[in-house]
């Protein structure tokens, strides 16, 4: 099933979606700079170019709905409502980070907003999302769980197992496959047999949709139709969103394995550029757009400065939150 038509979207709603996307972009660009300058020590996987999926999907979720995401998950966190200040502190490994500085970019979680965790293992979030939905069903809660993953994940066993599980137990899950074209640094097409993600989902009786994932209004419109169906008890649905990873696998990956002309050309389809053009068509002035951009960039500049100035966590935290029974003994000064 395909839905590529841009919606007749309300201008205010598109402004909100654009603002979310711009905040994600500004966060990613700030994190990229901090990574390249050495302020951030660990790997940073940027979602630049994929912002429309995060924004368009999460705009249709309630606070009590839950998501799982991947190593490339900053955008999903911001779109679900996580504070970018706490996220940046986490990337810097500082006190006050979403996980107290103990998880870093690949393990950001924010249970207050239903963000059940990014994951360092490809496809590992799929069974977790399915289980969270299973738990919600057992507890009689009407929440929907959205499971974000990339096209690299569809060749792992948990993808097949997790979809099958969601289908047989008729669980409230929206699977969102972000087809950015790459499985790490390998072209996904070269390592994926058959007709791809949707065909695999449909083979298990899960209705699957495909959409231009760089068209935020289209993503918003379609997901706005799908989420209520899931919440009403209709079982899982599957959405493939075509996009393109405009940067390398990590912030330090120059991505020389791809055709450079093709990669450069993809910026023409930048979801922010497209949404900006649509907003202008709807009557937004250049000044109004610039104001949104500057506000997002200013916000992320400030969170980066705050994170840089913050303290590392107290050493004792290396030993806490491991387990209640048999926890390691922390001796100050040892």
């Amino acid at each position: 099933m395909s839905n590529n038509s841009s919606h007749n979207i309300d201008r205010d709603r598109l402004v909100d979606l654009y603002r979310t996307m711009r905040r994600i972009r500004a966060f990613e660009e700030t994190a990229e700079a901090a990574s390249l300058s050495g302020q951030i020590g660990g790997a940073v996987h940027l979602s630049i170019g994929q912002e429309a999926i995060a924004a368009g999907v999460c705009a249709n979720l309630r606070l009590s709905d839950q998501i799982t995401t991947t190593h490339r998950g900053h955008g999903h966190c911001i779109a679900k409502g996580t504070d970018p200040g706490a996220m940046m502190l986490e990337l810097f490994g500082k006190e006050g980070g979403t996980c107290g500085g103990k998880g870093g970019s690949m393990h950001i979680a924010d249970f207050e907003v239903g963000m059940l965790g990014a994951n360092g293992v490809v496809a590992a979030g799929i069974p977790i999302a399915v289980g969270a939905a299973h738990g919600a069903k057992l507890l009689g809660e009407d929440r929907v769980v959205v499971c974000f993953f990339g096209d690299g994940a569809i060749n792992r066993g948990p993808f097949m197992e997790g979809l099958n599980w969601a289908a047989i137990f008729k669980l409230p899950v929206l699977f969102v496959c972000e087809q950015n074209g790459f499985a790490s640094t390998t072209h996904s097409d070269a390592v994926t047999a058959g007709a791809g993600a949707n065909a695999r989902a449909e083979s298990m009786g899960i209705e699957a949709f495909e959409i231009d994932g760089n068209d935020v209004a289209a993503v918003d419109g379609l997901v706005g139709d799908l989420v209520p169906r899931i919440r009403a008890g209709g079982g899982p649905l599957f959405l493939s969103a075509r996009t393109y990873r405009l940067k390398g696998h990590t912030s330090v990956d120059p991505a020389l394995y791809r055709d450079q002309d093709h990669a450069a050309d993809q910026w023409r389809h930048d979801p922010l550029k497209r949404a900006g053009e649509e907003l202008r068509r709807l009557g937004l002035s250049d000044d109004e757009l610039s104001a949104i951009d500057s506000a997002a960039e200013g916000e992320m500049r400030r969170v980066s400065e705050t994170a840089d100035a913050a303290d590392h966590p107290d050493l004792a935290h290396a030993y806490d939150d491991i387990q209640d029974i048999g926890a390691p003994v922390w001796e100050a000064g040892s």
Partner: protein
């Protein structure tokens, strides 16, 4: 008190905890018909298919979905069918269940019990006979329990279900029919981390767990006939292990033997031996010994399989060599 089998005691524990707490549920392959070893017998009839959930043969997702369901506020009892099959769910146990609480800065707990029927019984060969408990003791975040008596299988399983940590729960397949006195009380709890003094003796401390407690008891009878007193400590929980009870016993006997069915190399006996050596080597009067299986896959053919078993005679011979030194 009632006389129950190890299998019935475990089943009673799950039933009582499910009655007590509506968030507890069990999931795994073939649970609807009572589990492959009958350890869920009758539970479907009482609790229904939602809380006694028959799953696909998808160990990774049985485990991974349990992590998600635990994060979502339920308390899953996760049936892995055979410890050997739990290896299909290693990422979900080690990278997800054990680490979620820590990685997420303490925002969430992962309260679940991972039941792993373990060990050799008869002609089940290399993929249905293993004892892999030592692997899990190496992973921060996990509790590792291995009860031997039916009473402990009730009291420890109940404690494991109430525990907010992920618990690896090792049940020996050769123990299912083992009978013993089991307290009837539905608040009968055996604390995790506390060993049990299974037999008193003055000459040597034998530390073991799971089915080997019974084999060690037979060895102790043989030794007693020779005037040797073996003190047996049923460790019950491997992580955290009850160092205090082991050290106190060694103050008296001054000789240590650790026995386990698992491969000796890299087994948990090495951890116990090393810890004792670090703390009280100078107080011991004989070299510490370990007795575990040879580092060989387990054979199907009966005589070859038996060759790898720890027997009362092998234990006795090791004990005699220690007493003689």
């Amino acid at each position: 008190m009632s006389v129950l089998s190890y299998q019935e005691a475990g089943c009673q524990a799950v039933a009582e905890e499910m009655r007590r707490d509506g968030r507890v549920w069990a999931l795994g392959e073939d649970l609807g018909r009572g589990g492959v070893f009958g350890q869920y017998k009758g539970l479907l009839e009482e609790f229904g298919p939602e809380r006694i959930a028959d799953t696909p043969i998808s160990e990774a997702t049985i485990m991974g979905a349990s992590v998600g369901a635990a994060l979502a506020g339920t308390r899953p009892v996760v049936e892995m069918r055979f410890a050997d099959f739990a290896l299909c769910a290693m990422d979900e146990m080690v990278n997800q269940a054990a680490k979620a609480r820590f990685m997420f800065g303490g925002q969430a707990r992962v309260p679940l019990v991972i039941r792993q029927p373990s060990g050799m019984w008869r002609s089940s060969a290399a993929q249905h006979s293993q004892s892999l408990e030592a692997w899990y003791t190496h992973i921060p975040g996990l509790v590792v329990a291995a009860p031997y008596t039916p009473a402990d299988n009730k009291g420890m399983l109940k404690s494991a279900i109430r525990c907010d940590d992920p618990v690896i729960y090792i049940e020996h397949k050769d123990n299912w029919a083992l009978e013993g006195e089991v307290p009837d009380e539905d608040d009968y709890l055996v604390p995790l981390g506390a060993a049990r003094l299974a037999r008193e003796g003055k000459d040597l401390t034998l530390v073991t767990w799971s089915k080997m407690v019974g084999v060690a008891a037979q060895a102790a009878e043989l030794a007693a006939a020779q005037g040797i007193g073996i003190e047996i400590i049923d460790l019950r929980t491997l992580w955290p292990w009850d160092q205090d009870m082991v050290f106190a016993s060694l103050e008296k006997t001054k000789r240590l033997l650790v026995v386990h069915e698992a491969v000796q190399v890299g087994g948990f006996g090495a951890e116990i031996a090393a810890t004792v050596a670090e703390h009280m080597a100078h107080e011991l009067i004989a070299p510490i010994r370990r007795l575990g299986a040879p580092r060989a896959p387990i054979s199907y053919a009966k005589p070859l399989e038996d060759l790898l078993r720890i027997t009362p005679e092998k234990i006795l011979s090791t004990v005699v060599s220690q007493i003689g030194t």
